[in-house]
């Protein structure tokens, strides 16, 4: 269920910044369908991970309170150009995706 994800990783002065943009509806489960009046079932990303050299450098847990088509960025110490980072996510309906990106 890959819906598309963009990841960019940049290393500067020994610190790597990873930015990710994921296509996802991020439904909280509290919103109503305007036509039917029924609640739209919750569908949001629960977990985003980032691995560097086989180690998890970041694990984010999200609620439906993160905006639709979420953007996130974080930094970790280490990492240099041409090394790889792996970013992955999974949602509450079992959807998931991963992407390997080369650090610039």
């Amino acid at each position: 269920m890959a819906k598309g994800m963009r990841v960019q990783a940049k290393s500067k002065n020994g610190v790597t910044q990873v930015k990710a943009l994921i296509n996802h509806p991020m439904e909280t489960g509290n919103r109503k369908d305007k036509k039917t009046g029924k609640l739209i079932p919750a569908h949001f990303i629960e977990e985003v991970t980032c691995e560097y050299k086989g180690e998890q450098v970041m694990l984010a847990e999200w609620s439906g309170g993160v905006s639709k088509n979420p953007y996130m960025a974080f930094k970790f110490n280490g990492g240099s150009a041409d090394e790889m980072v792996k970013v992955g996510w999974k949602d509450n309906q079992g959807g998931n995706d991963t992407l390997d990106v080369k650090i610039k």
Binding site: Q56, V66, F76, K90
Partner: protein, 153 residues
């Protein structure tokens, strides 16, 4: 209809495989999404469920970058920076959201104390950044005025 069923089965299988993979990864040893914390309706409950404590100390070393006035509550950019060392996690909390805890970022030993994301805000409230260092919690807050809420339908 059959499409849906197929997707469902496929996703269940894939999800299962990912869960199994997560268990095998020792680094940050978190097996499951913290349901209790993300269902908590108050800031204290959320923090208790998340890190087992809600006592926080204000810290000037945490900086929140967020708009003073958010025209659209559905997309409020939040950036948290801290100069503290040994940051274990950074949580972003919108005090008056139906589910206050928006996101919790956990780091390995090499975390650099910076996260940025975009959140939804139901109405004008404080945004809290809670940083965990060792056993202690430090926080900073900033008020964001919301003109159009981002949680309604």
């Amino acid at each position: 209809m059959s499409m849906k069923r197929r997707h469902f089965i496929k996703n269940t299988l894939v999800g299962g495989a990912v869960a199994a993979g997560a268990v095998a990864m020792p680094q940050l040893a978190i097996a499951e999404w913290n349901k209790a914390a993300f269902e908590a309706k108050s800031v204290d409950d959320a923090l208790n469920a998340l890190v087992g404590a809600s006592g926080m100390e204000d810290s000037a070393e945490i900086k929140i970058k967020a708009p003073d006035i958010a025209e659209n509550g559905a997309v409020v950019p939040i950036q948290v920076t801290t100069s503290m060392k040994g940051v274990e996690s950074i949580a972003i909390i919108a005090e008056k959201n139906p589910v206050p805890l928006v996101a919790n970022f956990k780091f390995g030993a090499n975390g650099a104390g910076f996260v940025s994301t975009r959140i939804k805000m139901g109405k004008t409230s404080h945004v809290l950044a809670v940083v965990k260092v060792g056993d202690k919690l430090y926080s900073a807050k900033k008020e964001v005025k919301v003109t159009i809420g981002g949680c309604g339908g």
